[in-house]
Amino acid sequence: MNKELKEIEKIISNVELNSQDQIQNLLNNFLKNHLKRSKIDDYIGDYPTFIEPVYLEDNVRIGDDVLLGPNVYVGNNVEINNYVEISNSIIFDNTKIGENIKLDNCIIGKNTSLYLKNINIENCVLIGNVITKKELYKIMFKFK
């Protein structure tokens, strides 16, 4: 699994050099072929809802009323705030997801902070720190 994640990390660090299809294929391949079982036994938070497969690395903080899955990988030291919903996505290490954000078919790069609230985001790569929707659209790379 680590090998595939490293490859995806490398690809998204320079998204423009890769085709949209290539990124979607990499994401699909990882979620379908390398994320078969859940690991949800160790997190900090208050009993979210999980639809398997969901894989949580270490020190993941999860807020209230969160729904994770199906097909979600969450890296180390990630903070997921209240009312968040994530499906079909990879969230890399040290990321913060703001309240009531809904993510589907996304890759969120390392050290990204989405400090904004109440937004549906789908089919894209996000890397960077944003507070407003305007800033979010600037860093958004749509691959579908």
């Binding site: 859940s38 949800i40 809802t49 999980f50 729904l67 209240n82 499906s87 609230k117």
Partner: protein
């Protein structure tokens, strides 16, 4: 609506009691509750249409913790896994114990851990089905979280609903939980192998189910001994 107030409404909604809402948010809480129920029913209808389009038969199973839902599913699985391409969606607060048991019968499973939610809802099922290739299946069972109360609030979009109780829960269990029996097609009274030892009045249980819902089919089973599982399969029209 401010974030704080939204949070407050959410909390009250979770507690499922309008009485707890402060006077100034009471209307809002009632409106929110109605919307949630409406949305769930619409989604359930959409799910049922989608499953029918794929020619998939669907059944959801509800019942208290330890009534024998998984044991019955295992016995059905043993008999039908060669005839049907089956998927079982298992709902539990936590763990995948039930899904692991069912997988031993070569049946595909998906586990939902609902955490603080006491029942599955149509959105959980929608999220699972949307991410599966439905061509792979022609029979889907949904095993709800062990609970005789909350599942009655949420339709899941299946063709039939099966409620399982066991004689160990006492002869008043059906009379005390009328909502689920009203909306079920079949009632299973399980663990009849213990009838002699416990002396539960099973005739009262059957009578109660029929009084609550005259159309309900009542089957008495022993999942442990495999007794009357064929009758149940027949009642499910499988």
């Amino acid at each position: 609506m401010s974030g704080k107030r939204k949070q407050e409404v959410q909390r009250i909604k979770e507690l499922e009691s309008i009485n707890l809402a402060r006077e100034e948010v009471r209307d809002l809480v009632i409106a929110t509750k109605k919307e949630v129920e409406k949305d769930n029913d619409l989604l359930a209808e959409q799910i049922n249409n989608e499953l029918k389009n794929y020619g998939i038969k669907s059944i959801d199973i509800v019942g208290a913790i330890g009534a024998g839902k998984t044991a019955i599913l295992e016995k059905i699985g043993e008999k039908l896994s060669k005839k049907y391409r089956m998927l079982v969606i298992c709902g539990d607060i936590t763990t995948r114990v039930d899904a692991d048991r069912i997988e031993q019968h070569n049946i595909d499973t998906v586990q939902i851990n609902t955490g603080r939610e006491c029942a599955l809802n149509a959105y959980h099922i929608y999220q699972i089905l949307k991410n599966l290739d439905l061509n792979n299946y022609n029979l889907i069972f949904i095993e709800n979280v062990g609970n005789l109360i909350c599942p009655s609030d949420f339709k899941l979009g299946t063709d039939k609903r099966l409620t399982v109780v066991s004689i160990t829960e006492g002869e008043w269990v059906i009379e005390k939980h009328p909502m689920l029996f009203k909306m079920s097609d079949i009632a299973v009274i399980n663990k009849i192998d213990l009838l002699e030892r416990l002396g539960t009045d099973i005739n009262k249980m059957i009578k109660d189910a029929k009084n609550i819902n005259p159309d309900i089919k009542v089957i008495t089973t022993s999942a442990k001994e495999g007794k009357n599982i064929d009758n149940l399969i027949e009642a499910l029209e499988l």
